[in-house]
């Protein structure tokens, strides 16, 4: 598992374009909202929590269809499946690798996007936490979706259709946490609910992904 993570991080460092494109996508989508909403900072701040989460989840989806696709293409997936690691461990490692190379950079870019959306600064820490949890949930469900759509034609279209509905609860509680923080309330209950979703996805999604990988 640690060997797999090291390899994922090293590959991401050698190919920074994937991480960078996800982060740029996130910031650019956030930058488009002010143009669409027009000269109304209050309305923009009202939209900010949902917009942040939607933009971040869509950005994190971008590299997902290559998560197992690239491994399958060059034969590495066979080697990984025969490596003596349980397929679920393998999927968990890949999901964690995706979160570290996509989710964490998105969290770090959150202040920039939050500023573009006129989110009050006191809500930024809650926004970063909510996005960290939501992107982790997406990485887990995304790994399961990527394993299921592996080898399917148009898998890139199928993947968001499978994964985004599963992340709706994460968007609801994440946006609620940011909104609470923006209006001076405690974001903690919403963040805890979002963390509970993560606790649910963490064991289940890798098991599903592992079963899908093995059935391939």
């Amino acid at each position: 598992m640690r060997a797999l993570l090291l390899r994922e991080l090293r590959l991401a460092l050698r190919h920074p374009a994937e991480t960078l494109s996800a982060v740029l996508f996130f910031v650019l989508v956030a930058a488009l909202f002010p143009f669409g909403v027009g000269p109304s900072p209050e309305l923009l701040a009202r939209l900010a929590p949902g917009a942040l989460l939607a933009a971040a989840l869509l950005a994190a989806l971008l590299p997902l269809d290559r998560l197992f696709g690239a491994e399958a293409e060059d034969g590495s997936l066979d080697q990984l499946l025969l490596s003596g690691l349980h397929p679920a461990t393998l999927a968990a490692g890949k999901a964690l690798g995706h979160w570290l190379t996509t989710g964490v950079p998105l969290v770090l870019a959150t202040p920039a996007a939050a500023a573009l959306l006129n989110l009050p600064t006191e809500a930024w820490p809650a926004a970063m936490l909510a996005l960290a949890l939501a992107s982790a949930i997406l990485s887990l469900f995304g790994a399961a979706g990527a394993a299921l759509t592996l080898g399917a034609r148009r898998g890139g279209v199928l993947l968001p259709l499978l994964v985004l509905p599963l992340s709706i609860p994460a968007v609801i509680f994440g946006a609620a946490a940011i909104e609470a923080a923006a209006s001076g309330l405690a974001p903690r209950p919403y963040l805890l609910l979002e963390a509970a979703l993560l606790a649910l996805a963490a064991p289940l999604a890798p098991l599903a992904a592992g079963a899908a990988l093995r059935g391939e």
């Binding site: 640690r2 060997a3 797999l4 090291l6 390899r7 090293r10 590959l11 050698r14 190919h15 293409e73 060059d74 034969g75 590495s76 066979d78 080697q79 499946l81 025969l82 490596s83 003596g84 690691l85 349980h86 397929p87 093995r214």
Partner: protein, 211 residues
């Protein structure tokens, strides 16, 4: 049936790997059926046959990567499909593709597998004469050099069963000869080799299975 050469004293079964009436369907076509053979320590089996005869499918089936449509694969008398993770850990599979990450150097590619299986990266590189290329990204290696890098995985840590899909494709004559000692050491230690090939391989005394 050739005699076993490996350390198989006492009550250890002579046949470690036994295929019982295996059949394989790929893309709604019967590739092979009723295929039975046994393999004991130190033995080698060459799979030959025309393109599409099912050599690669049989190797993937033996690796547990695809299920058998019919029949059973036994490892020391137990069904190999019952614990595919454990079965994967006791074999080395070399497919058509080299499973080499182009962005990593030759050494880093091997180091990942060394972390999983143990073994010495430098020794494995030297066994396939790759030491001078160790720090180059695999992207710039030629196809023969990439093949050697894939083969170097075999030299990392011992595993009882090697499944090789055309191991010598793209290799020059000197590199094919270098496989000789690698195979010999593996078989002398009781290892088994199943190789699909169209070209002669340095596997003396290997049986041939024509598909």
């Amino acid at each position: 049936m050739a005699m076993c050469q490996g350390p198989s004293g006492g009550g250890v079964a002579v046949h470690v790997l036994e295929a019982q009436r295996l059949a394989c369907w790929r893309a709604e076509r019967l590739v092979f059926a009723d295929l039975s053979f046994t393999l004991g320590p130190g033995e080698a089996l060459l799979l030959t046959g025309a393109n599409g005869a099912g050599k690669s499918s049989l190797l993937r089936l033996l690796a547990g990567l695809i299920p058998a449509a019919e029949g059973r694969l036994l490892w020391q008398g137990e069904d190999a499909a019952s614990d595919r993770v454990a079965h994967g850990a006791r074999l080395r599979y070399l497919g058509h593709q080299d499973a080499v990450k182009p962005a990593l150097t030759a050494r880093e590619n091997l180091a990942f597998f060394a972390r999983l299986w143990g073994g010495e990266v430098e020794a494995a590189l030297a066994a396939l004469d790759l030491s001078s290329l160790a720090d180059l990204p695999a992207r710039v290696l030629s196809s023969g050099q990439k093949r050697r890098l894939a083969l170097a995985r075999l030299a990392l840590a011992p595993a009882p069963l090697w499944l090789l899909d055309e191991p010598s494709v793209g290799l020059d004559a000197a590199s094919v000869e270098r496989l000789g000692p690698l195979f010999a050491a593996h078989r002398a230690a009781g290892g088994m080799v199943v190789a699909a090939t169209h070209l002669p391989l340095p596997l003396p005394g290997a049986r041939e299975l024509r598909l």
